[in-house]
Amino acid sequence: MTRTDLGMPAFPDAAREAVRDGVLRANLRHATHTIRDKRARAVAELEDWDRLRAAGKAVKDHTLRHLDRYLLQLEAAVTAAGGTVHWAVDADEANRIVTELVRATGEREVVKVKSMATQEIGLNEALEAAGITAYETDLAELIVQLGHDRPSHILVPAIHRNRAEIRDIFRAEMGRWGRPAPDPLGDDPRELAEAARLHLREKFLRAKVAVCGANFMVAETGTMVVFESEGNGRMCLTLPETLISVVGIEKVVPTFRDLEIFLQTLPRSSTAERMNPYTTMWTGLGPSRGADGDGPSAFHLVLLDNGRTDTLADETGRQALRCIRCSACLNVCPVYERAGGHAYGSVYPGPIGAVLSPQLRGTDSEIDASLPYASTLCGACYDVCPVAIDIPEILVHLRERVAQGGPVTRHGIRVRIRPAHGHTAERAAMRAARLLLDRPGALRAGERLLARARRLAPRRLPGPGAAWTDTRDLPSVPAEPFRDWWTRERGTPQ
């Protein structure tokens, strides 16, 4: 990932801020618990859920193992259906390709379907720098955009805002972007949604260019799939003349039939519905090649790497590429529920963000080095994941990488990274421990000394160790070392 949020505070600092915000905590708790309970009911309806989950995992693993083959097949199918395929190694290249495609149309504005990939690469900012305005059309993304805010949840990016806050944002900002909010405007969700409908309809009807992502791409047929609820996706995918999709290379699946798995697991895991209101599938320009006005007359697919092949090179970490962005792991995570999405310093918050961001971006920055620790390892995220990503396993793996360094792949090249800054004390302590454990005589002498001096043991550690004992009790020192006790009781020295 070439775009990093410079100066982003590490997770513990950002989270500390967030937990102090009572409104935010209440909004989050209400939201996560509501979706969590609904989801459990939707999943319980399918007696074969575990088998669907295993099949989804298998489809994704198989695809990742043969990713080169399926991407080439996809490219051929999309091209045969009248689309154009572009390949982007990183965020800068993807942004450059999209900017040039928009420029070639002569347009200065685009409408956008909510897409994690374009957020990841900072496309809106890149377009803005080129004098092109990107309008987010998903209601939650609109709230975030108008509020000069950042998304805090994968599925419901404005989850941290309540209705009163949203009304204030609409009142203050809508007029600067187009049709102003109706006056007066109350804070009933119905009224707010209606204001968004009026504001955005103008844009849909005049837009010539749309940018979207995709939930799935089918290699066999070249079919693109977008799941949504509001109809803003359909508007963007159907009405404009030019459609540009920016999609991570891991989103490909081999066959059209494979969709039968994800059409069952994705809606239930994300919005807790049997099916989301709208799913659009299109293949290139369609049978008429766009000549009959049904959909765009130009279709571009930008295949995005941006750290994905580096992630693929890590045998433990690569399972994160199975993610279908359902956000079920966010809603069950005790850490996310209290810290909120912004604390993760990435467009991918929650447990999946904690494993995805440090892999896509590397662990050089303070925030990325701290993310593998943003978890209690309780395992709830693994239990709900519809493609069975073992998030705790990757977290532990990444902690090891942060603390000890080791071989990783960066920009396609195998390198050995040094332990992250800030873990030197920990490593010094481990080295000292090893020194002692390797020398039983010294260990025994040390233990006896400690036991004799136990009255002097402090309740809190001095210096940097205080951070630990501020929130935990220091274990008490026993009156006698265990091995002395054993020898005394059983009489046989080990």
Binding site: A31, V59, D61, R234, M275, P277
Partner: protein
Amino acid sequence: MTSKDRILARIRRAVPQPGPQAAPGPDADIPRDYLRVHGARTPQERVDLLAAHLAEYRARVHRTDEDGLPDLLGRLLADAATVQLPPDLGFGLPSHPSLAFVPDRAAQTPRELDRVDAVVTGCALAIAETGTIVLDGGPDQGRRRITLVPDHHVCLVRVPEQVVDSVPQALPLLDPGRPLTWISGPSATSDIELDRVEGVHGPRRLDVILVGARGPRPGPGTRPPETGSQ
């Protein structure tokens, strides 16, 4: 070296392949032991389940046969001045003098379409377990945008023949080369405090009419009763 070559080379380094003969098709790797259908149903039960699931997502469900259809449509479209139609709906239409039918034309601009009040279409198929209707742009459905921009969509489903139980049963019947629109209830959002609000950008109202085969000629008072609108 192009970006495509670089990405493909990185993939090949990341997941080395033993050789082309060792690369199995997806079928060798993927367990397909999940269910094709959840439960056993008669055609009638399948239609009932579809109706229940559609209604749960706040589509309004109606039942009639071909003879009763024009009357029912006339009532559902009573407040519409203009109604958009696909090239060939395949059903009889009401003949109210106040109703103006607009054909689906490529030249129609989105703004013109925005002034249309309602649209009547058929569908490719419907899925009972999920409460979904699927459109594929066939002659009885028209372009994708006509079921998107107007405020009111009336969709006709031939029952029981167009209804399948499940998603795995639906996919083999669909042609991925055609543009496919899967609709489960009207447009909705839950973005504000997770309160569900219908009708954000797509049609605010979705009426689904389950159309049975032509019944016996209705004599006076024998018209099959139409079951409840939601």
